[in-house]
């Protein structure tokens, strides 16, 4: 059941919860009850692989700090809150997320933002396989994932909407900015990738396009947000190093079938 948002009292002390010795279910119950009693700042200490932190919470205006490494499905079905992880995260961050913001001050695992349809995920470091797959955008709800480092295979697979930005900080000959089958099956949305991109890695449903004025206008605040959030000093605004990847058609498999 969705947690009903309650009007927060004017001043509410930040709530600090220690996750040590708690199961994920009990930890999440405590988070929910803190939100119900009006907390808007919650800090979770001693997190050690606790799953589902922030999962299924409908509470705009709440900030959850996570100290330690959270477990899988951090912020799944998230609807509003702002989650800050001061460490690495595991798989399934922001699974089917609807609204809110997740910041990971480290790396994240596989399938970040699966089927995400709104909100923003910022990741300081690298991400694993299948990041931002099945992302959807509808009208004013356009999800965004910004990855500071490099990404694994199947980046943006089946992407149907929204936007992904891949900055490739720390890429090298041994560490390509993105793995194979990037954007395969993509049929909506857009991605911006900074750095050297081998064309053969791209799915055949997409094309590479140089940035235009509209892209630059869109990217500028996004990059500023990233630099500010993670105190990144590297100059990211050299737009000639970015390439835009967009689908050729919204109907990739239109001619495959006969009636």
């Amino acid at each position: 059941m969705a947690t009903e948002p309650t009007l927060a009292p004017a001043v509410m002390e930040p709530v600090v919860i220690s996750a040590a010795g708690l199961s994920y279910r009990h930890l999440n119950e405590q988070v929910r009850s803190a939100i119900r009693s009006g907390a808007t700042e919650i800090t979770l200490n001693d997190v050690m692989g606790h799953r589902y932190i922030g999962t299924g919470i409908h509470a705009p205006g709440v900030t959850i700090h996570v100290n330690g490494v959270p477990g899988e499905d951090l912020g799944a079905f998230l609807d509003g809150p702002h989650i800050i992880v001061h460490n690495n995260a595991q798989d399934g961050v922001g699974n089917t997320m609807n609204e809110g913001r997740i910041e990971i001050h480290g790396q994240a695992g596989d399938v970040v933002g699966y089927g995400m349809r709104g909100g923003r995920i910022l990741i300081r470091g690298d991400v694993g396989y299948r990041v931002g797959i099945h992302m959807k955008g509808y009208r004013d709800k356009q999800p965004l994932i910004v990855t500071g480092g490099c990404a694994g295979n199947f980046y943006g697979e089946y992407m149907a909407g929204g936007c992904q930005v891949l900055l490739g900080i720390g890429q090298s000959d041994k560490k390509p900015v993105v793995g194979q089958y990037c954007a395969s099956g993509m049929h909506g949305g857009v991605m911006y990738i900074r750095g050297e991109l081998d064309g053969w890695k791209l799915g055949k449903e997409v094309q590479q396009i140089p940035l235009d004025r509209h892209d630059r206008e869109f990217l500028k605040p996004v990059l500023e947000d990233f630099c500010e959030t993670f105190a990144v000093k590297e100059k990211l605004l050299e737009f000639d190093r970015f390439v835009r990847i967009a689908p050729v058609s919204a109907r990739p498999y239109g001619r495959l079938y006969v009636y």
């Binding site: 059941m1 969705a2 279910r25 999440n28 929910r32 799953r51 589902y52 999962t55 299924g56 409908h58 899988e72 499905d73 799944a76 079905f77 609807d79 798989d91 399934g92 699974n95 089917t96 609807n98 596989d110 399938v111 699966y114 089927g115 349809r117 299948r130 797959i133 099945h134 959807k136 955008g137 509808y138 709800k141 199947f154 697979e157 089946y158 149907a160 909407g161 099956g185 049929h187 909506g188 919204a250 109907r251 990739p252 498999y253 239109g254 001619r255 495959l256 079938y257 006969v258 009636y259």
Partner: protein, 515 residues
């Protein structure tokens, strides 16, 4: 878009020959016979045919057909006010050949014409053995008196979900679905079916105290009010899945597979993604809605557990979570893994299940009958002592209350009916669902066709069907001397097999008739 195409010039001119290279349409399958004496030229049939098959020629002042386009949906026949139309098979067909039947030849033509995958709708239409039809039911005589359901109470209610292992005080209670009869409407997504039909299903589910299933297409805002009777699906495309979608529903269902097309995903073509479908699925209008078979965050039973508990967390453990799989080889081991992963309900969908669209080759050749799958899954879960941890829903090929009774005896807790529900509202099983122009307004959202089915009419007919089945189920329980479906569940002694081999009987766990 198909709908906005100019009327086919060939049809308008009444020329019979299809375009060059179109051998598939070179040989008509059906003949629309029209009795010219009876025909009053009202042109109802012309307006009713969605398959470019019927036209009026003002010069001859007559109504004619392009027979090779006819799919035998029988809409014109049904609507003609003077019964002037009669559908027949076209001529002798090809030379008699049991190996190269008309259908086989025509499919080769179709693919040689187009080079594409031959798509079809509805369910497997091949002559596989039906185990339902080879099982007979027991009845009480003398020593074990039967019960008269008209005068004695009969319990048809099914609680669907996890049960406690043993009785405790206070009892452990888990979230369960409560269906007034063990029949639930199968997952059919808005987009694949019309809004009116889905609304009819929702209304009937509410009226009869059972459930409908949204399929993987989201829940339309106007159907939100039926949330208490909705099972909502989460599939690989995550269409329309939001926190509200999950928490407003009676249960959440993870769709892994579908009996009509195990191992392949859903693909709603862009032309079916209309404005209304687009806002329900939360994707742009006209874009393909791809729901590939693998959920790429599920590669193992552990990953499945992660999603099951993710849904439980999101709904604060107040809803049962179901996992639906297609019946395939080794289904018992798979189901056992699913139960151990924490599912409260396992749905096993047999190879006769319907579909809005599937490659014909997969619909017709992949998967196993639900009867054997069900028997094996029930057996396996009992042997492992985990049968109480989950309820079992059988789907795919349930046509009547007799199938329900037989399935109960094989161990199912409840059943999904999809094709039977469509037939109840007019479907003639013409297998054209994938073309999006169902002449009965069931599997189409074309603005001229969808209104042919009115939600109130659909709801009434569906409720009637459920009432009819409920009465029959009561009669059959009474005749066996039982007064609740609980007493029949997994009671295989009430079944006997006719015309089966010993291996088949053993697989179903039943005895030969006469023993």
């Amino acid at each position: 878009m198909e709908y906005y195409e100019e009327p086919n010039a060939r049809v308008a001119l009444g020329l019979r020959r299809p375009e060059p290279g179109d051998w598939y349409h070179g040989y008509p399958e059906y003949h629309v016979e029209r009795d010219d004496d009876k025909c009053i030229r009202c042109l109802v049939c012309v307006r009713q045919c969605p398959y470019d098959c019927t036209f009026y020629d003002p010069y001859r002042h007559g109504v004619y057909n392009v027979h090779e386009n006819c799919v035998n949906c029988r809409r014109c026949e049904f609507m003609c006010p003077t019964s002037a139309i009669r559908m027949t098979k076209w001529g002798a067909g090809f030379r008699d050949n049991d190996n190269w039947k008309q259908k086989t030849i025509r499919t080769v033509y179709k693919q040689a014409d187009s080079g594409a995958v031959s798509l079809t709708g509805l369910g497997n239409d091949r002559e596989y053995v039906s185990y339902f039809d080879r099982m007979v039911i027991d009845a009480s005589q003398v020593t074990n008196p039967s019960i008269d359901p008209l005068r004695e109470p009969m319990e048809l209610r099914a609680y669907i979900g996890k049960k406690p292992e043993r009785h405790t005080n206070p009892p452990e209670v888990y979230p369960n679905l409560k269906a007034e009869l063990p029949v639930i409407f199968a997952p059919m997504s808005f987009g694949a079916i019309s809004f009116n039909f889905q609304r009819g299903l929702a209304m009937a589910a509410k009226e009869a105290g059972t459930y409908f299933n949204t399929g993987e297409g989201g829940l339309h805002p106007d159907l939100r009010q039926y949330g208490d009777h909705a099972i909502v699906q989460i599939a690989s495309g995550r269409f329309g899945v939001s926190l509200d979608y999950l928490s407003n529903a009676a249960a959440c269902e993870i769709k892994i597979g579908q009996g009509a097309k195990p191992g392949i995903g859903g693909h709603l073509p862009g032309e079916k993604v209309t404005w209304d479908v687009s806002r329900t699925r939360m994707i742009p209008e006209g874009s393909d809605a791809l729901s590939p078979a693998p959920q790429h965050d599920i590669y193992s039973i552990e990953d499945l557990r992660l999603l099951i508990y993710g849904l439980k967390e999101a709904t604060e453990y107040t809803r049962p979570v179901s996992v639906k799989i297609a019946a395939v080889h080794n289904v018992a081991a798979i189901a056992s893994g699913i139960v151990r992963a924490g599912a409260d309900i396992v749905v096993v969908d047999g190879f006769r299940g319907g579909t809005g669209a599937a490659p014909a080759v997969i619909r017709d050749h992949v998967g196993i009958p639900v009867e054997v799958a069900l028997a094996q899954v029930d057996q396996r879960l009992r042997e492992e002592g985990i049968r109480h941890q989950a309820s079992l829903i059988a789907a795919g090929g349930i046509r009547s209350s007799a199938d329900v009774i037989k399935g109960l005896a094989l161990g199912a807790d409840a059943f999904y009916i999809g094709t039977a529900a469509m037939v109840a509202v007019g479907c003639t099983a013409c297998q054209q669902c994938h073309r999006g122009r169902c002449s009965w307004g069931i599997t189409t959202n074309r603005p001229d066709l969808a209104p042919r089915l009115q939600p109130e009419v659909a709801a009434e007919r569906l409720t009637n069907l459920l009432h009819g089945w409920a009465h029959e189920i009561k009669e059959m329980l009474g005749m066996m001397g039982l007064n609740s479906i609980e007493s029949l569940r997994g009671n295989r002694l009430k079944l006997r097999g006719v015309g089966m081999t010993q291996v088949e009987l053993d697989t179903l766990g039943i005895q030969q008739a006469g023993l």
